[in-house]
C-alpha cells in the first residue's frame, strides 16, 4: 500500500507539474495551452540533444528547461496573443495552440527522428527504502522538486507584489490594466512559467521515458486531467490533482490489473466532476457559502 502511494506520488508529481503548467497559463490568460505537453517534449529533446553534444548533464538539463520556457513564450506570442487581441472570449486559441502542438511535435520528429533516443542520467538508479516500500533516488528527487516548485509558486503568487498583480489579472484583466498592471508582460511571464514547469517535468521523467517526439501527447493529457481534478481556481490545485491521479493510476495497476490504470482514474475523475464540477477544492467553498447563507438568514430574521 505504501509502495502504491509513493510510486503514485512520484509519477503524479510529473502530472502535477504539467498540470500546473496548464493552470498557470490559464490562470492569467484564460487560455488552455494545448501545446503544454509539447513544451515538456521540447524540454526533453533539447536536454537530450545538448547531452549528446558532449556537454555536462547539468548544463543539458538547464538548457532543456530554458528551451521549454522559451517555447512557451513563443507559443504565446505566435498563437495566443493575436487571437486574444481580436476577441478575449472566443475559443479560437484552441485551434491555434493545437496548431503549435502539431508543429512542435513534427518538427521534433523531423530533426531527431520519430524513435526514442537516450537521455542523460543525473542520478544512478539506486533504491531507497522507506518502510516497506522502495523508491529510486530519481523518484524521490521528482517528488521533492515538484513540491518545492508548487510551494515556490504559491509564495510568489501570494507574497510578492508581482504575484498579486498576477492574481489581479486573473480576476479582471481590464481592471488590472487600468490599475497599471502590464497584462501583456504578465501573460508572457505566465507562459514562460508554464513552459518551465513542463520543462522541469520533462527532464525529471526523461531518464525513464528516454527522449521521444511523441511524449507530449501522453503527458499533456495527464496534465490536463490533473488540472481538471484540481480545478482552475488555484494553480496549486493542479499539483494536488496530479498527485491524486498518480496514486489512482498506481492503485488501479496493483489492485485491479495493468489495463485498469487506463480507465480507473477517469472513472474517479468523472465521479469527482459530477459531485464537484469545479474541481475537488470547490467543495470547501460551497460548504462555507451554504453555511454562511443559512446563518445570515437566521440573523436577519431574529
Amino acid at each position: 500500500m505504501l509502495q502504491v502511494v509513493l510510486s503514485g506520488l512520484a509519477i503524479g508529481a510529473i502530472y502535477g507539474l504539467v498540470g500546473m503548467g496548464f493552470a498557470i497559463a490559464f490562470y492569467v490568460t484564460r487560455v488552455i495551452n494545448f501545446a503544454e505537453g509539447q513544451l515538456l517534449m521540447v524540454g526533453v529533446m533539447i536536454a537530450a540533444a545538448i547531452a549528446r553534444g558532449g556537454a555536462n548533464p547539468v548544463l543539458a538539463v538547464a538548457g532543456g528547461i530554458a528551451a521549454a520556457g522559451a517555447a512557451g513564450v513563443v507559443t504565446y506570442l505566435v498563437a495566443v496573443k493575436p487571437v486574444l487581441a481580436f476577441d478575449r472570449f472566443s475559443f479560437a486559441w484552441l485551434v491555434s495552440t493545437l496548431g503549435v502542438a502539431l508543429i512542435l511535435q513534427n518538427v521534433a520528429a523531423i530533426i531527431w527522428g520519430p524513435t526514442s533516443r537516450s537521455f542523460p542520467t543525473l542520478l544512478n538508479g539506486t533504491g531507497v527504502h522507506i518502510g516497506s516500500a522502495t523508491l529510486t533516488v530519481q523518484e524521490l528527487l521528482t517528488i521533492g522538486v515538484a513540491v518545492a516548485m508548487a510551494a515556490a509558486f504559491e509564495l510568489v503568487r501570494k507574497r510578492t507584489l508581482f504575484g498579486k498583480a498576477g492574481m489581479a489579472v486573473a480576476y479582471d484583466p481590464e481592471m488590472a490594466s487600468a490599475l497599471g498592471v502590464d497584462t501583456g508582460t504578465m501573460a508572457i511571464v505566465a507562459f514562460a512559467g508554464a513552459g518551465i514547469f513542463a520543462g522541469v517535468a520533462g527532464v525529471l521523467i526523461g531518464p525513464i521515458t528516454y527522449s521521444n517526439p511523441y511524449l507530449g501527447n501522453t503527458y499533456g493529457i495527464a496534465g490536463f486531467v490533473a488540472l481538471m481534478i484540481g480545478g482552475t481556481e488555484r494553480p496549486v490545485g493542479a499539483m494536488v490533482g496530479g498527485l491524486i491521479l498518480g496514486i489512482l493510476e498506481e492503485a488501479a495497476k496493483s489492485l485491479i490489473n495493468t489495463q485498469a490504470s487506463d480507465w480507473f482514474p477517469f472513472v474517479v475523475v468523472v465521479a469527482i466532476l459530477l459531485l464537484m464540477p469545479e474541481g475537488v477544492f470547490s467543495i470547501g467553498g460551497r460548504i462555507r457559502s451554504l453555511a454562511g447563507l443559512r446563518r445570515s438568514a437566521g440573523e436577519a430574521v431574529s
Binding site: I103, I110, M228, A297
Partner: protein, 639 residues
C-alpha cells in the same frame, strides 16, 4: 384596428426594401445549391473507391461539425464529448447489428434516440456549470467511452469490430451509383437543413440570448437550462446518426473516436467559422481531406497542417466563412462603390411615430390567447385597485449577517406606476431581482396577481405576464434591435421549441414569423425606436439599447413590468419621451414598477412611491404624501 395592422404591414414592406433583392434571389439560390449538391453526390457515387472513401469520411465529420456547431455556435457550449457520442452511435449500431441482428434502418432512429438520451443525461449533469467546466466534463466523457471501448470484450478491444455492409440500391435505382455515398450525403443534407431551420426560426435569437445575455432570455420566459440540455440532446442525436453512417465504411476501433477526434471536430467548426452552418462543413472537408490530398513527407505535412491552423485563425478569427465574407465585401465594394447602407432607416428620421398602444395590445393578446387567458383588466382608479405585486416581509442577504433587503412590505396596485427610490446601495435592484425571481427571498412572500411566486424563477414570471428590464442593458449584441425585441415574445409563440428545428417547412411558420416581426415593430414604434430596427445592438447608442429593453419587455403585452433605471444614460428629450410612453402603458392597464434616481421625474409620474434606505422601507404611499414626508426629504432628497 384594421388600419393599424395595415400600416404595420406597410412599414414592414418598406423596411424589407433593402433586403428585397436578397429575398428574391434566396429561393432560386437555394434550389441551385441543392442541385449542385445532388450533382456532386451523383458524381462521387460514380467515382473511384478512393474518392468515395474520402467523401464519406468528410461527410461524417461534416455531420459531426454541424452538430457541434449547434451547441458551440448557438449556445456557447464547447462540447468535447462529441467523439464519445459519435463512438456510442458507431459501436451501438455495429454491436446491435452483428450480435443482435437488428434491422439496419431501424438502427438509425434507434442510435439517434439512444445517443440523444445519453446526450440529455450528460448535458443535465454537466450543464450545472457552464463554459470551461462543460468542456472538461464532456472531454472526460469521451475519454471514458474510448477507454471502455479499448478494454471491453464486447467492443473487440483495440482491434475493434467489423462494421455492417450497407445494402446497395434496388434494381431500378442502380443508375444512382454507390448507395452508401447517397446515404452519407443525404444524412449531411438533413443535418444542414436542421441547422439552417433552427437559425431561421424565432428560437434562434432566444438561443443567442441564452448564450450572451442569459438573464434577458430567462426574463423573457425561456427556461435556459432546459433549452441548453435539449439543444445538446439534439446535437447528440445528430452525432449518433454520424456514428451510424460511419459504421459502413469498414471497421471501427477505439482510435477513431479518441479525444483528439473531439478536439478535431471543434477545430473544424472554429476553422470553418463558428455559428455559420456552412463553415463547419467547409472546415470538416478541409481537415478530413487535407492529410489525404497533400502528398509530401508526412511530418512536413503535419507541420504545414499545424501552420495552417495557426495562420488561418490568427489572420481570420472568423475562420473560412469570415475569410469569404471579407472577400465578398471587398468584391461588392469594388463593383458598386455607392452601395446603399445595409441598415437603411425605414421611416423618416426625426420625431417618433405616433404611439399605437391599442395595436400593440391587441396584437400581443391575439398571439397570447392560446397560451393564457387575457389577464389585463384596466383599472382606472389606481390607488383602489387590487394588488398586482404584493411583497410581505421579504428578507434577503448576499453574505451572512448583512441583510440587503430586510423585512420589506411592498404593494403595487394594478394599473398604477409605482416608483421605487432610495440612495445607492439601499437595496432597490436586489428587491427588484427578488420580485422578478432572479433571487429567492430568505423569508417572506411575493405574490404576483394574487399568485404566490417567490419560489419560481424568472421564466415562470414571464409566463404569468410579468416582464422586466435591467439597469445595464442585457441584450444580444450581434442581433438587430428588432430581433432582440422579438426575444421578448418567446413565451407567446405557441410550441416554439419543438417547431424550431423544422421551422421553415412548417405551415404557419411564415405567418408566425411575420407576426413576431410586426409585434416587434409595433413595440419599437411605441418606444419611438422604430428606425433603429435593423441595426445591430453593438452599433446603437446606449439610449436606444434602453429603449430596446423597454420594447422587449412590453412586446408581449405583460400585465406588470419592472423597469430598472430606464432613464439612465438617456438624453433630456429621450427622458421626456419615455415619460410619455410610461403614461401610455399605464393607460392600457399595465402596472409598472419603476426604479429611478431623478426625483422630479419620479414624483411627477408615479401614482405611488416607496422609499428604501438600507434595505428597509422608509415611506410608502401616494407620491405627494411621500414627497412631503420629513424622513424622505432627509435621506433621499437631501433637504
Amino acid at each position: 384596428m384594421r388600419a393599424d395592422v395595415l400600416s404595420a404591414l406597410r412599414t414592414g414592406e418598406a423596411g424589407a426594401a433593402g433586403r428585397r433583392w436578397a429575398l428574391r434571389w434566396r429561393e432560386p439560390a437555394l434550389v441551385a445549391a441543392l442541385g449542385v449538391y445532388l450533382w456532386f453526390t451523383y458524381y462521387v457515387a460514380h467515382g473511384t473507391l478512393y474518392l468515395q472513401g474520402l467523401v464519406l469520411v468528410a461527410a461524417v465529420f461534416a455531420i459531426l461539425a454541424v452538430s457541434l456547431d449547434l451547441v458551440a455556435g448557438m449556445a456557447g457550449l464547447y462540447s468535447l464529448g462529441h467523439a464519445g457520442l459519435f463512438a456510442l452511435g458507431a459501436y451501438g449500431t455495429t454491436i446491435l447489428y452483428n450480435d443482435h441482428h437488428w434491422n439496419l434502418f431501424a438502427l438509425l432512429p434507434a442510435s439517434m434516440v439512444g445517443v440523444g438520451l445519453v446526450g440529455l443525461v450528460l448535458g443535465s449533469l454537466s450543464l450545472r456549470v457552464s463554459g470551461l467546466y462543460f468542456a472538461i466534463t464532456t472531454f472526460i466523457f469521451t475519454l471514458v467511452v474510448t477507454v471502455l471501448a479499448s478494454d471491453l470484450k464486447i467492443t473487440g478491444g483495440y482491434g475493434g469490430l467489423i462494421g455492417p455492409v450497407f445494402p446497395g440500391f434496388p434494381a431500378g435505382l442502380h443508375w444512382l451509383g454507390q448507395s452508401l455515398i447517397w446515404c452519407g450525403m443525404l444524412a449531411l443534407l438533413v443535418a444542414i437543413l436542421i441547422s439552417l431551420g433552427l437559425r431561421r426560426s424565432p428560437l434562434y435569437p432566444v438561443l443567442l440570448a441564452i448564450r450572451d445575455a442569459e438573464r434577458f432570455a430567462a426574463a423573457a420566459g425561456a427556461r435556459t437550462a432546459l433549452l441548453k440540455i435539449g439543444l445538446f440532446g439534439v446535437s447528440a442525436a445528430m452525432a449518433g446518426a454520424a456514428g451510424w453512417v460511419f459504421t459502413f465504411q469498414g471497421f471501427i476501433s477505439p482510435g477513431q473516436f479518441d479525444w483528439t477526434v473531439s478536439v478535431n471536430i471543434l477545430v473544424m467548426v472554429i476553422l470553418g467559422g463558428l455559428n455559420t452552418t456552412i463553415g463547419p462543413v467547409l472546415g470538416a472537408a478541409f481537415v478530413s481531406m487535407f492529410p489525404a490530398q497533400v502528398n509530401m513527407n508526412p511530418f512536413w505535412q503535419e507541420v504545414l497542417f499545424g501552420g495552417l491552423f495557426v495562420g488561418v485563425i490568427i489572420v481570420y478569427p472568423g475562420g473560412f466563412v469570415g475569410l469569404l465574407e471579407n472577400a465578398g465585401r471587398w468584391l461588392v465594394r469594388s463593383r458598386s462603390p455607392a452601395a446603399p447602407p445595409a441598415a437603411a432607416p425605414s421611416s423618416p428620421a426625426g420625431e417618433p411615430a405616433p404611439v399605437r398602444v391599442a395595436a400593440l395590445e391587441s396584437a400581443a393578446l391575439e398571439g397570447a390567447e392560446r397560451t393564457r387567458p387575457p389577464a389585463v383588466t384596466p383599472a382606472r382608479s389606481a390607488a383602489a385597485g387590487p394588488p398586482a405585486v404584493e411583497c410581505r416581509g421579504v428578507v434577503f442577504a448576499y453574505t451572512r449577517g448583512v441583510p440587503v433587503v430586510n423585512g420589506v412590505d411592498l404593494v403595487v396596485r394594478k394599473g398604477s406606476i409605482h416608483g421605487l427610490i432610495g440612495p445607492n446601495g439601499s437595496g432597490k435592484t436586489t428587491l427588484v431581482d427578488l420580485i422578478a425571481g432572479r433571487l429567492k427571498p430568505l423569508a417572506g412572500t411575493i405574490a404576483v396577481d394574487g399568485r404566490q411566486l417567490e419560489r419560481g424563477g424568472p421564466p415562470a414570471r414571464a409566463r404569468n405576464g410579468f416582464m422586466r428590464t435591467f439597469q445595464a442593458p442585457v441584450l444580444v449584441r450581434e442581433l438587430s434591435v428588432g430581433e432582440n425585441v422579438g426575444v421578448g415574445l418567446y413565451s407567446r409563440v405557441p410550441r416554439i421549441t419543438p417547431r424550431a428545428p423544422v421551422w421553415p417547412v412548417l405551415p404557419g411558420a411564415r405567418r408566425d414569423g411575420r407576426r413576431i416581426r410586426e409585434q416587434a415593430n409595433d413595440a419599437l414604434r411605441l418606444v419611438g425606436a422604430e428606425r433603429w430596427r435593423s441595426s445591430r445592438i453593438a452599433n446603437v447608442p446606449h439610449g436606444i439599447q434602453q429603449l430596446t429593453q423597454l420594447a422587449a419587455a412590453c412586446v408581449a403585452g405583460p400585465s406588470t413590468v419592472i423597469l430598472d433605471e430606464p432613464l439612465a444614460g438617456l438624453s433630456p428629450t429621450e427622458v421626456e419621451h419615455v415619460a410619455e410612453i410610461l403614461g401610455e402603458l399605464k393607460g392600457t392597464g399595465m402596472s409598472v414598477i419603476l426604479i429611478e434616481h431623478q426625483p422630479r421625474f419620479v414624483f411627477a409620474l408615479c401614482d405611488e412611491v416607496t422609499v428604501l434606505d438600507a434595505g428597509e422601507v422608509v415611506a410608502t404611499g401616494p407620491a405627494a404624501e411621500v414627497r412631503a414626508n420629513a424622513r424622505v426629504r432627509e435621506v433621499y432628497l437631501g433637504q
